[in-house]
């Protein structure tokens, strides 16, 4: 008995798999596009960076604080 690389179910599901693949690519595209647009809409994207990259005192553990 020869090994069939392509099972019948693979052939049957090919269309559905392509469809799911396209939907996932579309979803990634939407999320990526939204991210770009939302960041550009901030006006100065540097503000975003400043928010993220400033050492905030409240995040630094106080000296002598117990665990």
């Amino acid at each position: 008995m020869t090994i069939r690389v392509e099972h019948e179910v693979h052939e049957r599901r090919k269309g559905r798999n392509y469809g799911v693949g396209l939907l996932l690519i579309g979803f990634i595209g939407i999320v990526f596009g939204l991210t770009v647009v939302k960041i550009l809409q901030l006006g100065d994207a540097g503000e975003f960076e400043r928010f993220d990259h400033v050492a905030r005192p409240q995040l630094i553990p106080e000296e002598g604080a117990s665990e």
Partner: protein, 297 residues
Amino acid sequence: MGDYFALMKPRVMSLVVFTALVGLLVAPVPVHPFIGFVGILCIAVGAGASGALNMWWDADIDARMKRTAGRPIPSGRVQPGEALGIGLALSGFSVVLLALATNFFAAFLLAFTIFFYAVIYSMWLKRATPQNIVIGGAAGAFPPMVGWAVATGGASVESVLMFALIFMWTPPHFWALALFVKSDYGNAGVPMLTETHGRDATRNHILIYTLLLVPVAIGLGFTTIGGPLYLAVAVVMNAWFLKGAYDIWWRDDAACDADKHRTEIKVFKVSLYYLFAHFGALLAEAALRLYGLGGWS
């Protein structure tokens, strides 16, 4: 994939996309094209999700109606559980993405629309009362309000009147259909007005609801999204629709049988033109405003 797409009622979705797009574009707040696209996509997917939930719940009556017997679930091409899963997943997806992409009010309205269509209309009203079309029509009337909310983050007299236009238009539109596909709803046991109160009562209802629709349609012309062009279109279309409603009201069953419901079929088609003309005119007014021409100022 085609059967899954059919679950989402693409023809209903096209009307939802059109009216939601008009609601979005006539709003006074400009929206980034990509965010607008995602907003409309979410509304379309939400409408599709509620369509899938409706098909899941109504599979038993769909199987008994000629018009719907070929749908994916009654014909056995899609399992009921699949439709339920797709409906719930797409509902969650569309509402969450709309909230993240635009604002929470628009997402809330979309969630409420899906709930209204799937639960209030499909599960409760459709099999319980001949007024199912009247109250259930609200679900189809929300999309322009959602589109407006995507742009503005709220509601206003304009968006409420766009809602009211579709809400008041739905009963005469569907009852005209029910008059010439009468046997279908009866076979399925759906309490359509034609079955519970008779065809004469349905004709009366069509005329009354069309009379109530006219001031809503004309009134929208005097808001900030209306204008002379819209008003002209509204006057012509309302006169045409009212004439059709009068023609239906004036007829009896013998006349219907004699010409095979020619008037009812014509009025049903006019009702479709009516809605597209009104929303098309609103869109035209918005386009003219870009060149300083539209509106009343």
